[in-house]
Symmetry: C2
Subunit: 375 residues, 2 copies
């Protein structure tokens, strides 16, 4: 198997970069002085290699390490996401001169992970838009603190307005005001009833949270209530736990939320685009430029690109730009992302107050009506 390429931005001047890259290679493999290694096999097949060093600026270099498959492949040929991240960014996440920018997986290793099980086509089919190459719409139930009945009323309003996906706010967990079981039952019922009345196909995506036992219990409720989609925060639950959740507990599409995903030291396109997709996110929410967060247009474009581009056997993952978006921005966002996207507007709908349903309808209609050139 060829090596796993880990791409880093390293803040170091030209005079020091070779030594810094060599130290990084040891840090991310054997974590000990090379001259204390007595095994030839370890030197040859375990120590990370420095594959490339490129200047990016006076004090900034791109360093590409070749991580050895031996550091992460099990005896049966399988691999595990936690150990991949450990080898790529375990210790050096603690070194503030290093940013992990990207990871290239050899084809034989890529098959260790499922990727999205539905992808954007599967999502379109689920919301009654099979064959239409249009953007999908998503909104959020909020604020947390409301009881299940009020959240369900809100869900019904959005369903009547024809939005495609209604997710829980990611802050809604299993709090006393709206415990998971009661909330999910109430919201799913409200949406199913609205769908029956309108002939619509709105899908509810409740937010899963907690440790493995709580997640398994919530997944059981999702199955029993006939819920069609879920929201999950991979970084809060841990990537290996998210991986197992998707593989073993969920038969519906998964929307990934970036909470606790950090900002600076692991590039957003890698974490929220590539890695969440690798583990099976069918859609990935991220902070759009020009909202409440500081992602640049270039970072957003790159994130959408790695989420959707051809990648081995993996279906595409739908990018979901969000974070302070409004209905006014729909044309501009569709122009930027093209039609293979899900637009998420939460507070921007709720701020309509009594006009909520009308504004939600406007959102749905606007997305449905716009001719979006395929980039």
């Amino acid at each position: 198997m060829s090596r796993i390429l880990a791409h880093y931005d390293v803040a170091a001047p030209a005079a020091e970069i070779e030594a810094r890259a060599a130290a990084l290679a040891l840090e991310q493999s054997i974590e000990m002085p090379l001259d204390a290694v007595t095994s030839d096999l370890v030197r040859r097949e375990v120590v990370a290699s420095v594959e490339r060093i490129e200047g990016l600026g006076p004090n900034r270099h791109r360093v590409v390490l070749g991580l050895a498959p031996a550091t992460m492949v099990r005896a049966d040929g399988t691999a595990e996401i936690g150990q991949l991240v450990n080898m790529a960014f375990g210790n050096c996440s603690l070194q503030d001169d290093v940013t992990l920018v990207d990871i290239d997986l050899p084809a034989e290793l890529l098959t260790a992970w499922p990727g999205p099980r539905f992808g954007l086509d599967g999502l379109r089919e689920q919301v009654g838009a099979a064959g239409e190459r249009r953007a999908l719409t998503m909104t959020a139930l909020k604020p947390q603190g409301l009881p299940p009945t009020e959240l369900a009323t809100l869900a019904a309003t959005f369903a009547r307005a024809g939005l495609d996906i209604v997710k829980d706010d990611h802050g809604i967990a299993d709090q006393g005001a709206a415990p998971f079981a009661a909330r999910v039952a109430a919201c799913q019922r409200a949406i199913s009833e609205a769908n029956a009345a309108t002939g619509g196909h709105t899908v509810y995506a409740p937010s899963l949270s907690g440790g493995p036992r709580q997640l398994a219990e919530q997944a059981r409720i999702v199955r029993e209530e006939g819920v069609g989609m879920v929201l999950a925060c991979p970084m809060l639950m841990g990537l290996p736990t998210f991986d197992e959740l998707v593989r073993h507990e969920l038969s519906c599409p998964v929307v990934a939320h970036p909470a606790f995903g950090g900002a600076g030291r692991m590039a957003a396109p890698l974490l929220l685009g590539r890695l969440f997709r690798l583990l099976g996110a069918d859609a990935t929410i991220f902070p759009n430029h020009g909202g409440r967060f500081s992602y640049s247009p270039a970072a957003c474009a790159r994130l959408a690109e790695v989420a959707r581009e051809p990648w081995g056997h993996l279906l595409p993952c739908a990018p979901v730009p969000a974070g302070g978006m409004t209905v006014d921005r729909v044309p501009e966002m569709l122009d930027f992302y093209g039609p293979d996207v899900i637009l998420l507007i939460g507070g921007g709908l709720l701020s309509a107050g009594a006009e909520l349903e009308a504004r939600a309808r406007q959102f749905a209609a606007r997305v449905a009506s716009l001719e979006v050139p395929v980039p």
Copy 2:
């Protein structure tokens, strides 16, 4: 229940800090415009409050938010670590002007977590140092890539030399070269035999990794092989998964490793000191100043302080400064940290080559012989 206080460093000038703090309070609670909230209860008991703003510099302020217990307490009064982190740092982890510095938990909420089950006294008892107020010694089996027999030989050498704790390198997972089951059995046997020969009490701490299913299987092997301690990387496995692992799968002490713990945006004393302790780490490894990482002496001192200081019902968690340490630095480190510490030297022993056992003995003897004043 009184509010949970979350302390942030925010990069904003005085003219903007009030608006920035108010926006942060919404971001970390209801995530929508305040004027779109119709429920009085939500305004009063769910929205985060700005409790304090303090200047730290021309463009830097300390902002203390009061997070509402309603945002994280379940109907049965319990709480969950993932949701605590979500409310304190979920979305704003993505805003690069914000660093989470500390969290104060009200006494009623603190009891939701177990904290260390053994603490430093429990660890001392386990290694035959009950009643002695001395620092403990720890080393690591490396490099990864060696087969179980060679790792076991190394383990036996360290045990004969009288080191207290021998852990797996955190890069050693379940790779083909040394699968978990075979490695743990071999290393535990080697250490038990060495202990029997010398009358020593060296404890082996294998590294646990992977998702919930793999972790449960590894915990079973740990119990069956009579292993006395484990190493775990809470950030790689996810904090909620680490929480459940400690509560439900492990009856032995736990050493936390900081891999994937990041560097800049969540203060190390909070994450590696306070939160890992909260979830039950009996010892917490962190990068010591003057090694391969860039933590300052002040950050290290603060980390050791929060890991050990009185905190509700929680036993102290032993600080484990590490990352490029050498036997030469033992007196200085004991001077800095006092005797309530575990010193971890890995590569600094292995670089002795043929003199490995002698250098390990020197490490053990030096720690045992030094009179360390209690600070």
